[in-house]
Symmetry: C3
Subunit: 263 residues, 3 copies
């Protein structure tokens, strides 16, 4: 059993314009006033489960052992979709069972389908389970409650349909832009391990072709387009001290092709 | 006397682009380094006292007993407007006396007009009382200081001019859109209790007419406009997995009419 | 030696749309789970070192003794630019050595160039030192580690090229708009101490001329343009209950001239 540390990390698509995140924190603190709440992010695009799953999987390793993650990207709120709690060897996760925990991989040690509980807020709304279910149960988990007391074991999580990067028969790799960050960096789903070794690398995005991997932004001249392995270990297209997103007018979903020239 | 828990919840119209919220927290922590500060929201539209009052009243019940709320939407900063502290049976509130605490209802047990105090920062600015007055006094309150030591009792708070939803002679109810959230939900000021019971319900917003209340977003087909009782207990117009705001092009202040068809 | 209080204040240009700030906090809490992290701001414009330096210098005095500030505006991340730790009599600062700490003035008591350290995360990325270097070292500093153990003393910080406000031979003062806040206030770099005393003041911004200093926003009629000394002690152009930025269509960098009329 993973021991809760009192740290609770929140990932939602609630944004910060509205009071939803604040109210959710209030509900959590009402159960555990000593919880130390950290915002992982609240800016997952509305109802974008896939992006939420990607961010959570990339971030969780940097949080302490015993962190309780509460992930709420929940287009099916109020429907019959389930809510699940998951334990890995290090941490605890609470989320709708809609694929949001789909990238935790084989570190999962226990899955529980959250059932009826006297911990939830009454009257239970049909639109704001972040406040009424997730927050109070996370509060109890962060105080050390055993996940098992909130429901019965479940064999398998709901999975996501994803199109991972593909290695084609000619050895090239095709992936896509999965996120564009504030700096205009184009983050792809191609992990460093799939990049061809050695000289002759060719990275194509729309009409742009890059012929080498830089090691850092500063490796390229100011304003120049470059490719590197970013901080999540994936191929990234960037501009040194500028915005690749502006330079290339790329969007999420744009295809990225990595080949090695014949010699 | 309400016992402070050390939790301080902030509601302001400062936004997060500027360092104002951060500086206010620094000033608060300078007085009480152990304060556990929670952001309720900082995105109240600039100087929109009414919206601040609405959000605070809807949110406060979800926070723990002993929370000190600091609410700063303060177009009259530096003028002769007063600053007030309020105690309910459960919590403590600090705000300009401009109506921001106008919806706390009859749970108020004590009102104090904050007077001269050696707690405030010197030199006192005329434009940033969040930092110079609210933060240090909230810091002291969160450490358990009695509200009474910051000023003299006051009989009544400044009130807001509001146009609550009206029940007309024909039994219909007229309200308005008071907020539009990140998901495009149109939140009205019509509480569930004012909605007519039984069949024949008719909800009109502009040219759109809805003929039933859904229980959750997922009750309606994907993309369909629907009406339901939202998480604050008020009528809400939504689109399942979409944005009612985009679908209807509605704005805050738009009229919403709820009638029951004759039979 | 400045004693750390466990409070860590973050200033970055990361924004809140992406998970970078959340991940950085996770990495910090992994080293010091008891750290009390405060967001000073994450909305420094991307790679705007000067603005970061200005905000940090104006804000730090409001934070408690023993605060560890982590400032990351770092266009040179992954290059040979250094990382520095600085102690003043009251607080500790960690930042890239690119001018970001350039306005701390003569309160600096010690400078250390951060060297190789077993505290940094491995594998060390070349693009996200906030997570891999700044967070873990800040975590150790916030637990009381001595700055000296992270590197060798350094004589001088990298400085910024700035154009401070100038007093001209005719006694007038020329400065510029350095920030525009959420309320549309135009914040200049002209400190109160450089403003001419007495009657006949004349403040020129584009085609607008203001002939007096107000003491507060409410001093002027609603909607009127006014000038006052703002909360950081600098000349500010504002509109009472409105936006000077909209009224004047000003931008950062616009020239502001303060003269005194001849009598």
């Amino acid at each position: 059993m993973t021991k809760a540390s009192g740290i609770v990390a929140l990932l939602t698509d609630y944004g910060l314009q509205d009071p939803y995140v604040g109210v959710m924190k209030g509900a959590l603190l009402s159960v555990n006033p000593e919880a130390r709440i950290v915002d992982l992010t609240h800016e997952i695009p509305p109802q974008d489960i896939l992006e939420g799953a990607r961010v959570l999987a990339a971030a969780r390793g940097y949080f302490p052992d015993g962190t309780v993650f509460v992930a709420v990207v929940d287009p099916g709120v109020g429907s019959e979709r389930g809510i699940v709690g998951v334990e890995t060897d290090r941490q605890i996760f609470l989320a709708p069972d809609n694929g949001l925990l789909g990238f935790l991989g084989d570190s999962i040690e226990r899955i529980v389908r959250i059932g009826e509980s006297e911990s939830v807020l009454k009257p239970l709304s049909r639109t704001f389970h972040g406040r009424d279910i997730f927050a109070p149960i996370a509060g109890r988990l962060s105080r050390g409650a055993d996940l098992g007391q909130f429901g019965a074991p479940l064999q398998q999580l709901c999975t996501l349909e994803v199109s991972p990067p593909r290695r084609r028969s000619d050895g090239s790799v095709q992936g896509e832009v999965v996120a564009i960050d504030r700096f205009g960096n184009l983050i792809t789903n191609i992990p460093a391990g799939m990049l061809p070794d050695g000289p002759g690398l060719r990275i194509t995005l729309g009409r742009k072709v890059l012929r080498q991997l830089s090691r850092s932004y500063a490796d390229a001249p100011k304003g120049a387009l470059l490719a590197l392995v970013g901080s999540t270990g994936h191929l990234e297209i960037s501009v040194n001290q500028g915005s690749a997103s502006k330079a290339v007018r790329s969007r999420r979903g744009d295809r990225v092709l990595v080949t090695r020239s014949r010699r």
